[in-house]
């Protein structure tokens, strides 16, 4: 059942590279290349700022992903608490030193990039909880005193992000944390209690929502409520996707995005742009690529022996799925506009960094699938 430790530790670089999941690597690469073309289209068919910057980021972070994959999984296990805490400190830093843009304070200014720590926290929380649940026994999982720390670890960053305000990211962080807890075996009743508590607190929370956030929720319920205001994005996005038809309007011919009817076209609405230009066939291709990535991540979870590895891969796969589903649901008018980027495809350094970090750790689980973490 167990392979000797010596074999694992004596893996050569070649062995490591050979044991990577190439379907996953190729899928990511393919998606990255597609995203470059999409970005080129958002620049109006010119090799412009967004395209250049996106290619550079993808290139750098894709290399980072490969390098991270080669690190021992034990390293990520050991540093997970540290990572979580440092991300938390960065979030606190945002509160005091953050850059404000369009009404919300989300970024820290580093010399080479504006970092959005809330994106990193998506991975940090999963790592932290995976380690936590790896360490406690199955029996202890549902004991109240062992529930205390995960709840604090989840709620604290979520509150900080909500306060930025960034409802979308905070929900995504929370969903990641909840997924780990669910997989670790926390009883359904606790989730039920939490839901009841959450629902009963909602009216109070709504009172604290910014007017634009309230408008977004109302608009989701009825997009025609204010077609030139908050409903504009949903309506225009649906028009763009719908008008793409089966085969799309053709590369660089998406009139909705080309003529600036699409808001945030290189970030949250990148899928809309692609879908308008490449139609149903193109959209389906993207959906299939994401499915493959998620499937491969789950597969890594299946083959990894350690509970940490399993918890992490499953949770990250689920979180990755949630990011994709929320973004697509949003642009397709199935969910309110909350501001959630599409992994890999959307323009944005922090999101790309976080996703590549997450994928790298998952790949590290694959390479060191038989290595114990402690």
């Amino acid at each position: 059942m167990f392979q000797p430790r010596s074999i694992q530790s004596s893996m050569t670089l070649r062995d490591k590279i050979m044991s990577m999941d190439y379907v996953l690597v190729l899928s990511i690469l393919l998606l990255g290349i597609i995203s470059m073309f999409a970005m080129y289209s958002t620049d109006g068919g010119k090799f412009d700022y967004h395209t250049k910057s996106h290619i550079l980021r993808f290139g750098v972070f894709f290399l980072m992903f490969l390098v991270i994959s080669l690190f021992q999984i034990r390293l990520w296990y050991q540093t997970s608490t540290l990572l979580y805490l440092s991300f938390f400190i960065l979030l606190l830093g945002v509160k005091y030193f953050g850059l404000t843009s369009s009404g919300s304070q989300r970024w820290l200014n580093f010399y080479f990039m504006n970092l959005q720590p809330s994106e990193l926290m998506k991975i940090g929380l999963i790592l932290f909880l995976a380690k936590y649940y790896h360490r406690i026994s199955t029996q202890d999982v549902n004991r109240i005193k062992f529930l205390f720390l995960p709840v604090v670890a989840l709620v604290a960053p979520v509150l900080l992000v909500v306060a930025q305000p960034d409802l979308g990211t905070s929900i995504l962080i929370a969903l990641g944390g909840i997924t780990v807890s669910w997989l670790a075996g926390v009883r359904v009743k606790f989730f039920a209690y939490a839901s009841i508590l959450f629902i009963s607190l909602t009216p109070i929370a709504i009172a604290f929502l910014k007017p634009y956030q309230k408008a977004r929720i109302l608009t989701f319920l009825n997009p025609d409520r204010d077609p030139l205001g908050a409903g504009y994005q949903i309506i225009q996005s649906k028009i763009a996707i719908g008008s793409g038809g089966i085969f799309g309007k053709g590369f660089l011919n998406g009139s909705q995005s080309y003529l600036d009817y699409l808001p945030e076209k290189h970030t949250d609405f990148i899928f809309t742009l692609f879908s308008e230009e490449f139609g149903f066939v193109g959209s389906l291709f993207i959906l299939v690529l994401y499915s493959i990535i998620i499937f491969r991540l789950i597969n890594i979870g299946d083959v990894t022996r350690s509970s940490f590895g399993k918890l992490y891969c499953y949770s990250f796969a689920t979180a990755f799925f949630i990011y994709v589903a929320v973004n697509m649901g949003m642009v397709l008018g199935l969910l309110p506009i909350v501001g959630a980027p599409l992994p890999i495809m959307s323009y944005g350094g922090s999101s790309m960094l976080a996703i590549m970090l997450g994928l790298g750790i998952a790949m590290s689980c694959k390479i060191y699938k038989d290595t114990p973490v402690n």
Binding site: S243, G245, L259, D260, L284, I294, S307, Y314, L334, V373
Partner: protein
């Protein structure tokens, strides 16, 4: 601490895998949902969204067409287009409309009311559709706007064209254009897809021809971005200018007539007696039709409507006057045609006749003495015609009068034209609800009482007598149609011994004779000759001795107020009573007598007597028309395009 490899780990792994299975199932369901949504949007509803996308993408701007030009017979413009300077605002290009209006208010002297109106209009239309703030800027206003243009975003100074009427004399016939009103939009279907700011014909020819003269609206289709900026032109349809028209009018004669009329409340119509071409249709006093094009000034408007001479009224077709003694030619004709009167029959006129217990006066107090029908027409003896009318009866008179063009509209499509009245027993029962009195027949016999006619009707009546008694259709626009009447007359002159009876002959030429016996027509023409050219005739003083200009006419005056016995005793002259109470003066004639070509009617409101004020005007106009007859003949065959 849990150790690696303990049984706990296995349990844990199983738990995690079990719970993961649930999540995987959920993921599959959600992705299926997204797939379903894509199918619904991109396959099922693709057409709907494609339409919506195009609606976003394309915007259309309408291009106002140029109105067609109206010319006279010789090709001179009587309704033209001129360059104007306009100021448009595109609301979406202006960051702040309030400040913009504030600035424009001082620059252009806009009233608060106008600004309020403009703002309301902006609120109603699409933000990229321009509105016209001012459609006729002076050069100094236009240059001032251009100077400050960089401070006035959203403002567009535009050089456009607008209607321009070179001469006031044609104002009534041509009419004028003005801003589209709600009523126009309801009445005129074709205005629906016209752009805002287009001028629409309100009266006269401008109104009659509006549908074709207004042109076809064009459009420019642009691809625009979300901010309304034009990205590229997709399609352009320049539209079509309106049709140009050539009228039968002679602007020279029209102008001359206007000058002759001075500021009298009067009208003159001149008609070609063979083809019905209207050479002149003047109404006086006139007004400036240009003042309506850009919205009329209130002061000028008040001045126009308070003027007792009614300058806005087209007296030639909308003025109703009792025909007075001019009707006598119809009474005589009707009596002869119905065979109830021998023209040689003499009656003695003592100045008054008493019938049915009522006194009927002749205009000449002393009486004319013995009169036959020719001299009764020549001298316009009322007493003679009382007797003719009495025997004729109003219904037979009415039949003849209607046949010759009285009591019905002469032209097509002129909204201002009025019908007039040719009284009959049936008419009185229907419209007044009373029986006819015999005394009223006598009044009708001298063109008073219920009789009402327009100057153009009188002109047509005269023309149809002058041409030998054939029906003609008066017209204002030139037509390519063959002139059958002229051909018939030419044929008859060339074949004096034509054996065919006249009624068969005219039907070969597709003519409609209005007589039973053409001799009766000739009799009336001869009597009219006598009235102008023989001593004692009512218009003898206005005659021409030159054969070339010699005309034959009949005077008339229609009473406004009945003379009292006292006034009659005192022999009060028309010029001595109030303007408002003076008789209308009428005169109808045709010329030249030897080879008639034109008929004329002159009506001078409150002019006193026909011989005193109407006939001298006719004399001058007839000369002018005949002098230009050869010129007119020369351009006869030119079509509108060649001119």
């Amino acid at each position: 601490m849990i150790n690696f490899g303990s049984g706990n780990t296995v349990i844990k792994s199983k738990l995690i895998s079990r719970r993961m299975f649930v999540l995987t199932a959920a993921k599959t369901i959600v992705f299926c949902g997204i797939f379903g949504r894509l199918v619904s949007l991109q396959i099922n509803e693709a057409t709907k969204y494609k339409t919506l996308s195009d609606k976003n993408r394309f915007r259309e701007w309408k291009l106002a067409p140029q109105r067609g030009i109206i010319r006279d017979y010789f090709g001179k413009e009587i309704a033209a287009n001129e360059k104007v300077y306009q100021l448009h605002i595109t609301p979406e290009n202006s960051p702040n409309l309030e400040t913009l209006f504030f600035r424009l208010k001082t620059m252009l002297n806009l009233s608060d009311k106008r600004i309020f109106y403009l703002k309301r209009k902006i609120a109603k239309q699409k933000p990229w559709e321009p509105i016209i703030v001012s459609d006729n800027l002076t050069w100094s206003e236009f240059s001032r706007i251009n100077l400050f243009l960089h401070e006035l975003p959203g403002v567009e100074p535009i050089v456009s064209v607008a209607r321009q009427y070179p001469d006031q004399s044609t104002a009534h016939l041509v009419g004028y254009v003005s801003q589209v009103s709600q009523k126009d939009l309801q009445k005129k279907e074709y205005l629906k897809d016209m752009s805002v700011g287009i001028a629409v014909g309100k009266t006269g020819l401008e109104n009659k021809l509006d549908k074709d003269i207004i042109g076809k609206v064009g459009f420019q289709r642009y691809e625009v971005n979300a901010f309304g900026k034009r990205i590229k032109q997709i399609q352009i349809d320049p539209g079509e200018s309106g049709k140009n028209y050539r009228t039968t009018l002679d602007l020279e004669v029209q102008k001359y007539t206007s000058e002759v009329l001075e500021d009298k409340a009067a009208s003159v119509c001149v008609m070609d007696i063979y083809n019905g071409d209207i050479i002149t249709m003047a109404s006086s006093p006139s007004y400036d039709p240009n003042s309506f094009v850009h919205g009329i000034d209130k002061k000028y408007w008040n001045q126009l409507i308070s003027n007792e001479k009614k300058p806005l009224n087209n007296k030639a077709i909308a003025g109703l006057y009792p025909p007075g003694s001019t009707i006598k030619i119809i009474v005589a004709l009707s009596a002869l045609e119905n065979g109830i009167w021998n023209p040689k029959k003499y009656l003695n006129c003592s100045g008054v006749t008493e019938l049915y217990g009522e006194k009927f006066h002749c205009w000449k107090k002393k009486g004319h003495g013995p009169m036959n029908m020719r001299s009764a027409i020549q001298r316009s003896c009322d007493v003679y015609f009382y007797e003719v009318a009495r025997l004729l009866g109003v219904d037979r008179l009415s039949e003849t009068a209607k046949k010759f063009g009285l009591g019905k509209k002469v032209l097509d499509g002129f909204i201002e034209e009025r019908t007039g009245v040719v009284p009959s027993t049936a008419w009185k029962r229907k419209f007044i609800g009373k029986n006819w009195y015999l005394g009223e027949t006598l009044h009708s016999g001298i063109g008073q009482g219920y009789f009402q006619s327009t100057p153009l009707q009188l002109c047509l009546m005269t023309a149809q007598i002058a041409n030998g008694g054939f029906e003609i259709k008066p017209r204002v626009l030139t037509s390519e149609k063959k002139n059958n009447l002229r051909e018939y007359i030419k044929y008859k002159n060339e074949n004096p011994n034509e054996p065919l009876p006249i009624d068969m002959l005219v039907s070969n030429f597709d003519l409609k004779p209005l007589f039973r016996n053409q001799e009766n027509i000739n009799f009336v023409k001869d009597a009219m000759f006598a009235a102008t050219n023989e001593a004692g005739g009512t218009s003898f003083r206005s005659r021409y001795n030159d054969q070339k200009f010699m005309f034959a006419g009949k005077t008339g005056s229609s009473q406004i107020k009945r003379f009292t016995e006292l006034q009659r005793e005192l022999e009060i002259k028309q010029k001595d009573i109030d303007y408002k109470d003076r008789d209308h003066a009428l005169f109808v004639a045709f010329a030249p007598y030897s080879d008639p070509k034109y008929a004329i009617s002159v009506v001078v409101e409150h002019g006193g007597t026909g011989s005193g004020s109407a006939a001298p005007i006719a004399k001058k106009v007839i000369k002018k028309v005949l002098e230009r007859d050869q010129l007119r003949e020369n351009v006869k065959n030119l079509s509108g395009e060649e001119i």
